[in-house]
């Protein structure tokens, strides 16, 4: 590709500090024009084979590769998005990540039965709940709520985007219903009601930065991995079943946890825009859950029943990574530690909501 075509992206986030040899390879590479850097890539591939598939280094490297398909980074040539050399490295990172997930999730027996029982299982509220929202409600502090906002900013500032990629790969009722869910995520035609915008208002009201990927430097692998999962499912047509399973899981589980978040944030006296983001999700996701289960998953599996194993994988991988993030947050907080990589993002633990 000719150097003249290289167009640095204006705005966007800045490239983060690397977290090891693989992410360092990708960061170094993206700072150069796309025609160069083949040697760096060979080095990156060697390290990628060794790296922990859920570790900081590989997770950040994969996130950088994926971000080129969204808004990119300041000063990084847009042509990197389709660089065959970088895509080859990304494929290796994805292979490591996907293989590790498959090794950890259990998909025995008939896939159609597995999907039905996995969805039925998500529809039961188990008490006592041991999730982040219930911790915040019973024992939480405002700085912990702010840390949660920082973790979730990596996804919520692009809420709905990874799922939009599946639209051309669906047909009929499944496509129409998924587009209806996405239309709602994007504000139903009003950008001020887009969930990403509501989250930016939440960040601002909480006294945090609302810039896209502003906190990528601060957020550790367990939170970034949940976003990598969506990007991987969204970018591969072969994983359309997994993407649908992922979104169904998210829509089914968000409503009850959003209800607990509303209770927690009201008890803390959090600013109204913080509460509004979650009240919106109680009402929206009660609808989205119905559309996803019956019209999207149901219709997709009527048309392409062989995708049931992928839908099941999408559900289980989502539960696995969300569980790992919950464990990270709760174990950090219960030990009195910050859950972020560096604490200046939320440095005052005595601060009360403004």
């Amino acid at each position: 590709m000719s150097r003249q075509l290289s167009t640095p992206t204006p705005g966007g986030a800045s490239l983060p500090e690397p977290r090891g040899p693989v992410s360092s390879t990708v960061v170094d590479l993206l700072a150069t024009p796309p025609a160069r850097g083949r040697q760096h890539l060979r080095r990156g591939r060697r390290f990628a084979i060794e790296a922990d598939p859920f570790g900081e280094d590989l997770t950040l490297a994969l996130h950088l590769c994926y971000e080129l398909h969204y808004h990119g980074f300041t000063g990084v040539a847009e042509e990197w998005e389709w660089s065959p050399d970088l895509l080859r490295l990304r494929a290796l990172l994805e292979h490591r990540f996907a293989t590790a997930l498959h090794d950890l999730v259990d998909t025995p027996g008939d896939p159609v039965e597995t999907v039905a029982s996995a969805l039925a299982d998500l529809l039961v509220d188990r008490l006592p709940v041991d999730d982040v929202a219930s911790h915040l409600k019973s024992a939480g502090e405002w700085w912990q709520a702010k840390e949660l906002f920082v973790h979730r900013s990596i996804y919520h500032l692009k809420e709905g985007d990874p799922h939009a990629w599946v639209i051309p790969r669906l047909q009929g009722r499944a496509k129409a219903a998924l587009v209806a869910v996405e239309f709602d995520e994007y504000g139903g035609g009003d950008p001020r009601r887009a969930h990403a915008h509501l989250f930016a208002e939440l960040l601002d009201a909480a006294g945090l930065e609302d810039g896209y990927l502003h906190y990528l430097h601060d957020v550790p692998a367990p939170a970034i991995a949940t976003v990598n999962l969506m990007s991987m499912f969204g970018l591969h047509r072969a994983l359309r079943g997994a993407l649908v399973g992922h979104l169904a899981t998210a829509e089914i589980t968000t409503g009850p946890s959003a209800k607990r978040m509303v209770g927690a944030l009201r008890a803390m006296g959090a600013p109204e825009p913080c509460v509004r983001f979650y009240t919106e999700h109680i009402e929206a996701d009660a609808v989205h859950e119905q559309l996803m289960r019956h019209d999207v998953v149901g219709d997709l599996l009527d048309r392409e029943p062989w995708l049931a194993a992928d839908v099941a994988f999408g559900i289980q991988a989502t539960n696995l990574l969300e569980g790992r993030l919950t464990d990270h947050l709760l174990s950090s907080w219960r030990a009195g530690r910050s859950s972020l990589r560096r604490t200046p993002a939320v440095d005052d633990r005595t601060e009360r909501p403004a």
């Binding site: 529809l123 509220d125 008490l127 006592p128 859950e289």
Partner: protein, 67 residues
């Protein structure tokens, strides 16, 4: 299909989903509007956001021991 028909789906034990913007008048005279592409109307009467579903119809189970 007739263009004006609105699709309504009934979830056993759960809400009625109306695939349209709606204006709902409840038995106590409260009026609630929804301009989403679809709305889930509570039928179990347990919703804290009645007449809109808040997933309170879901079954709850108590775990044997606290984790």
């Amino acid at each position: 299909m007739t263009a004006n028909l609105v699709r309504v789906t009934v979830e056993p034990g759960g809400p009625v989903v109306i695939h349209s913007a709606v204006e709902i008048r409840t038995d106590d005279g409260t009026e609630v509007t929804s301009d989403r592409v679809a709305v889930a109307v509570c039928t179990c009467r347990r919703s804290r956001t009645y007449p809109l579903c808040d997933t309170s119809h879901r079954r709850t189970e108590r775990r044997a021991s606290s984790p």
